[in-house]
């Protein structure tokens, strides 16, 4: 996890809020560093994590995780991490008829179905185990990324339904957290993606939006991070808080600074 980001979010692994949905969003840049942050953050918080990794392989997250001080292999072995490797699962589903329903079963169907099997997978992964001792603090669902589901033929409504069911179970029932990433397609006029993004924005407690700089590429400032705290269930009497920082990604960390205060510029 990135200590500087924890400071900006005013949180640490041992005193994070529960029952929250965090939306990660990237526009004209790669926001995957945020996924790596939250994955290592919640593993360090001793949470039971279900990671629906749709876009990269296990070894990718594992190698980056090691740079951030967590071992995904060990977490998986001791039962703390349930990892759905979407790419591998898709190949299994498409090329072999499986007996039991698979999380990505919809890939075999001609018509866009729903994500019920995927939800069942998540629920099963995070359900509390009655072993008497409370081994893990609380459950966390992490998804990278939801936009892929649209590319695979799912409608925005089906994806929003899936998130709704997950929220009811993970956030409300189990008092856990959810972190999902959606791309912002910007001017690509991706209607389905816009519906998904807007729908999730209204439901989220915290939105982290990584944006490329409007002026183009810069070696010392890789992008801008907008942090927006929301209170979705209450009325908008209290204004949502929003902060913007610029950042630079390094080999094992990310440094944040106020706009115009990049060390390279000062």
């Amino acid at each position: 996890m990135f200590v500087e980001l924890n400071n900006l979010l005013n949180t640490t692994p041992d005193r994070a809020e529960q029952g929250k949905l965090t939306l990660l969003c990237d526009a004209k840049t790669d926001g995957s560093f945020l996924v790596h942050h939250f994955l290592s953050f919640y593993l360090k918080a001793n949470c039971k994590v279900c990671f629906v990794a749709l876009i990269q392989s296990f070894s990718h997250y594992s190698i980056v995780g090691q740079k951030l001080g967590v071992s995904l292999t060990m977490a998986r072995e001791r039962g703390q991490l349930v990892f759905l490797e979407g790419l591998k699962s898709a190949v299994d589903v498409v090329f072999q008829a499986q007996k039991e329903p698979q999380p990505l079963q919809f890939l075999r169907e001609a018509n866009a179905g729903n994500l019920k099997p995927l939800f069942e997978f998540v629920r099963e992964a995070l359900k509390p185990v009655d072993s008497g001792e409370a081994r893990w603090t609380y459950p966390v669902l992490l998804v990278d990324d939801l936009s892929v589901l649209l590319s695979l033929g799912m409608g925005a409504v089906a994806v929003l339904d899936f998130i709704h069911y997950c929220r009811a179970t993970v956030c409300w029932e189990l008092k856990g957290n959810m972190v999902v990433l959606v791309h912002d397609s910007g001017d690509a006029e991706d209607e389905e993606n816009d519906i998904l993004l807007n729908g999730l924005s209204h439901q989220s407690h915290l939105i982290l939006r990584a944006e490329g700089l409007a002026t183009g590429f810069c070696r010392d400032v890789h992008g801008q991070l907008r942090i927006l705290w929301r209170r979705p269930s209450q009325s908008t009497a209290q204004r949502d808080q929003s902060f913007t920082y610029q950042y630079k990604i390094q080999d094992k960390s990310v440094s944040f600074f106020a706009k115009g205060m990049s060390p390279a510029v000062l």
Partner: protein, 358 residues
């Protein structure tokens, strides 16, 4: 044949999911200086350099075709020729041209251990082609065959191609699943004009056709196959024909490296003195961050290519010196106009012209 005798017990290459350290000693590959990831040459050393050393095993290089599809076939053939020269296994898929013909069309000129120089006017020596192991997928031949196909909602052409690729990967042991087949070679996959109507896809004809998810589904499953095998893939795609911009964005997200070719033919840049030495621009639209938080983004964003004496070269585009006394007023304004249109950056388009972020 050059054999890299480099041996390293390193972190897992992204293209396999073996457990434990492996020895790396495959011809025509080298580890990335950044993280030891296994790379293959695209066949064009200048392009390798812009991509941080080469194409990582297990990934896809997507080439956005130039408008008249003159230059993208060259990059396609360089990739394949590099495979022949290194003894890699090839899988060539096309809906338009017989793969056997494609392989004959390029010849090696000079060699180095990683990346060679190819001459588009020479032919590949017949004995090299015959010695190499290659598989062709020519859609018109395959579409009527009775190859058993699992049900899937992709267009039939894509389904058959996926099945073909998976079959080769499994049968020849590129995924390490078959204990009898100890594969220590790379499978180079080349797919030409993916998305064109010849593949049975309608994304180039209609804005909201019935097949709008076929291509992206194909790319996703292909990525799954690549990530779990010792393979590398090049795809050329006529993105300039795709009506729906959202699909191009989704295709980009499902590819690892995306390179766009923009030729000057038929555009007003053809006669612009700024571009007179070049045939087009090359845009590095996306570079992956694999096994890493950072990626090897090049600082140089304005790149042009030219095909000179059958050799494809990539150079940094720079403005000629402004010789105030001798340059006339009107051509000065032409240069200024063209300069404004120089590419703003890889993956980050400059939205505001008068913006200063800091």
């Amino acid at each position: 044949r050059n054999v890299t005798s480099f041996q390293k017990r390193g972190p897992r290459a992204s293209g396999t999911n073996d457990s434990g350290p492996r020895l790396v000693s495959i011809a025509g590959t080298r580890p990335s200086v950044r993280n030891g990831q296994l790379l293959v040459s695209t066949g064009l050393p200048a392009l390798d350099q812009l991509l941080g050393g080469g194409l990582a095993v297990g990934t896809v290089l997507l080439i956005e075709e130039d408008k008249y599809n003159i230059y993208s076939p060259l990059l396609f053939k360089y990739f394949l020729a590099e495979g022949i020269v290194n003894g890699h296994t090839l899988l060539v898929a096309s809906a338009k041209e017989d793969p056997a013909n494609i392989l004959q069309q390029i010849g090696p000129v000079s060699s180095s251990r990683f990346g060679h120089y190819y001459d588009a006017s020479k032919r590949m020596p017949q004995e090299l082609i015959e010695a190499s192991n290659w598989h062709g997928f020519f859609l018109p031949e395959k579409i009527s065959s009775t190859l058993k196909v699992e049900p899937c909602s992709l267009t039939p052409g894509y389904t058959k191609l996926l099945q073909f690729i998976q079959n080769i990967i499994y049968e020849e042991g590129f995924d390490g699943s078959n204990p009898q087949k100890k594969q220590r070679n790379i499978l180079r996959i080349g797919i030409q004009n993916l998305g064109s109507p010849l593949w049975g896809d309608d994304i180039c004809c209609a804005e909201n056709g019935g097949n709008s998810h076929s291509l992206t589904k194909f790319l996703y499953v292909l990525r799954g196959l690549l990530r779990t095998s010792l393979s590398a893939c090049i795809i050329t795609m006529p993105t300039h024909l795709i009506q729906n911009k959202a699909i191009i964005a989704r295709v980009t997200n499902l590819s690892d490296i995306v390179v766009g070719l923009e030729s000057f033919i038929g555009s007003e840049r053809e006669t612009n003195p700024l571009y007179k030495d070049y045939h087009g621009l090359i845009h590095i639209r996306q570079i992956p961050r694999l096994n890493n938080l950072i990626c090897d983004e090049s600082d140089v964003k304005d790149l042009a290519f030219k095909l000179k004496r059958k050799l494809f070269t990539i150079e940094r585009l720079h403005l000629p010196p402004d010789l105030s006394d001798t340059v006339s007023r009107s051509s000065k304004m032409d240069l200024a106009e063209s300069a404004k249109r120089l590419g703003p950056g890889c993956g980050m388009m400059a939205g505001g012209k008068k913006h200063l972020d800091f």
